[in-house]
């Protein structure tokens, strides 16, 4: 087994990977940008090496430097997490060329699946259904517009190198086409250093359902069931769960078989995800394969009992994966909510700043994978996702109720988060019934931004009290009529007077 692993990532996923390493008695090495000097993943690691630089390009994407650090300080393997270098085939190859192990799939598998148009061709050749669209990257914008017209609007423009909604645009009519393609290319360039984009038909009433697969070097390829990821905003996943309320056992078996097949034909090894779209008639289409650990992998961990990072490490070290059977029985139900540093009330504008207070949720069935803590500075330079809450329940209802109470008890001061929005999604009757598509947020916008008048009154009352207190310069806290709390009173008054100084 590896003695030391370098984690070429930041934030929650770096911490997540280090935790498994610790549990396996493997030394962890962090690399960090200037901005991240005080981030938890830096002091969570056993060793930490500065990369310098501020932006991703100047730091986490500098792969020669990262490989250099790994070699100099004796790390035998590199885990890329998700994003950044995780789907960079050249990087994976370079790691291998230097005699180190890349914890992920072979470079060839990344390359073929990473190029979305190549991947589509491979799937079509192997009889796995795909969504109609361009088979190649777009070179000529005018020609591309003709293709779009032929497929029929609405269409999606997607980054060939990408994932996670970056460099993606929905185009509903011909007039928006050029602006959309330019924006997508620009975003793709910034996020993946590759501006190549392609076109796909936009499937109607679609659900986004993906299958987790595991493949080891002993020839075992299995799937661990699905994740329902239809709750999306701007093509970013917001809430994920496993199992999906849509799939029958029969459909699950069929899709699972296709997922395993997809992994096999690209010579896959490690953990990977096959994303499908399922339409209103339960037809499913291969969308893309993510050749890396997925943000939402914890829901699969909760219902399977496996540690997917541990499986990745075992597989990379040439060992067999832990479990050799496909998952055909879930242990309860798990839901994940991504917490973003964004203000839902201001069109989800990024909300950078310092976290002034943090009391996270705990108790039965709650797991958190966080990358921040009180005192953390949320910067503008990286992804706004700061943490993931995962709730487990013996059934979907209990998982939802647990997630709701966890979100309500989560306290974070200093930045805005998407928590109030997430609560409204989970409270929505259609969500609770499992009746939704990827357009859920769009279509229920009005109810998702409603103001609860009772809660608003409490907020107003508290604000008014504080304002009166400040103005009147006498202590108003605690006028409880039945109160006989001698010492407690004094305490409160003393604190009040301190507060005014």
């Amino acid at each position: 087994m590896f003695k030391k692993i370098l984690i070429a990532n930041r934030g929650e996923i770096a911490v997540r990977i280090m935790r498994t390493c610790q549990e396996m008695d493997i030394t962890t090495a962090a690399v960090f940008s200037e901005v991240d000097r005080k981030s938890p993943f830096v002091y969570y690691a056993d060793e930490a090496y500065p990369l310098g630089g501020i932006t991703s390009q100047e730091s986490y994407l500098k792969w020669e430097k990262i490989i250099g650090i790994a070699k100099e300080y004796g790390a035998e393997a590199i885990h890329p997490g998700y994003g950044f270098l995780s789907e960079n085939a050249d990087f994976a190859e370079a790691v291998f060329a230097e005699g180190l192990t890349f914890i992920g799939p072979p470079a060839d598998a990344i390359r073929v699946m990473g190029n979305k148009t190549e991947a589509r061709k491979l799937m079509i050749a192997n009889g796995i259904p795909t969504v109609p669209g361009t088979e190649d990257a777009i070179k000529d914008k005018d020609k591309a517009r003709q293709t779009a017209r032929k497929i029929g609007y609405p269409i999606l423009i997607k980054a060939a190198a990408g994932g996670g909604g970056k460099g993606m645009r929905l185009v509903e009519d011909d007039g928006q086409f050029f602006e959309a393609i330019e924006g997508a290319a620009r975003e793709a360039k910034a996020a993946f250093n590759d501006s190549t984009v392609y076109i796909e038909k936009f499937v109607e009433e679609p659900r986004h359902i993906e299958f987790q697969i595991l493949a080891d070097s002993k020839g075992n390829v299995i799937h661990l069931g699905e994740r329902e990821c239809s709750i999306q905003r701007r093509h970013q996943k917001v809430i994920e769960e496993s199992p999906s309320s849509l799939l029958t056992n029969e459909l699950r078996a069929k899709m699972g078989k296709a997922a395993v097949q997809a992994a096999k034909v690209c010579g896959y090894r490690s953990a990977g995800t096959i994303e499908f779209l399922v339409d209103k008639n339960l037809n499913f289409y291969f969308l893309e394969m993510n050749t890396r650990l997925q943000v939402e992998h914890p829901v699969t961990e909760m219902v399977s009992g496996l540690d997917l990072v541990k499986e990745q490490i075992l597989i990379a070290a040439g060992k067999s994966m832990t479990s050799l059977k496909s998952l055909d029985d879930f242990w309860g139900h798990a839901i994940e909510c991504r917490l973003y540093a964004e203000n839902p009330d201001n069109n989800f504008a990024p909300s950078p700043g310092e976290i002034l207070f943090l009391k996270s949720a705990d108790g039965p069935g709650i797991r958190e994978d966080s990358g921040v803590t009180q005192g953390s500075e949320i910067s503008l330079y990286y992804d706004p996702m700061i943490s993931k809450l995962i709730a487990w329940g013996s059934d979907r209802r209990q998982a939802i109720m647990r997630m709701l109470r966890a979100l309500r008890e989560y306290e974070i001061l200093g930045i805005h988060t998407t928590i109030p929005f997430l609560i409204r999604v989970l409270e929505h009757p259609l969500f609770q019934k499992g009746k939704f598509t990827t357009k859920f947020i769009e279509e229920n916008r009005e109810q998702l931004f409603v103001e609860n008048i009772n809660t608003a009154e409490v907020a107003s009352f508290a604000a008014a009290l504080d304002q009166i207190n400040e103005k009147s310069k006498i202590s108003i806290y605690n006028n409880h009529k039945n109160n006989k709390h001698g010492s407690s009173w004094k305490l409160i008054h003393r604190q009040q007077s301190l507060r005014k100084k």
Partner: protein, 170 residues
Amino acid sequence: MKIFADTPKNKFEFETYIEKDDILIIKDDKSIRYDMTPLGNGRYSLIKENKSYIVHLVKNDETYHVHVLGDYFPVKVEDERIRKVKELVKSSQSGTTEKIIKAPIPGLVVKINVEAGKTVSEGESLIVLEAMKMENIIKAPYDCKINEINVKEKDAVQQNQDLIKLISVD
């Protein structure tokens, strides 16, 4: 004295009396029983008519940013006197139609789609700001003329920094 507290979609009114060292809050002729205890870091434990809440209060300029029951509200609090003064000031001001568009977030100006002097329609893209790897398009709030552009491409801007000055087109 009357206190007005407004959230984006609701308006609340409380009547207050100062009695010795206590402040009474009256609603529907009844004094509301409350006990608001500071816990530090902007956190308060509020017990109001036996109902218990954890409330976060952060005051920025004129607005309270309040978190309670997993929800968030910006709340503007004014008392009677201040409100009257403001109304007087407002009515005496001459109606200027210039509007300043400020940066809703800190970020990087990646694209400016308009020039000073041009007329644009509601919803048209004016400026593209990038932050946390996502693009944010700032659109014209209504049909208007661009009076002045205060930034240029590749500028890094702070939150609330002036971006564009507009004059509405009637």
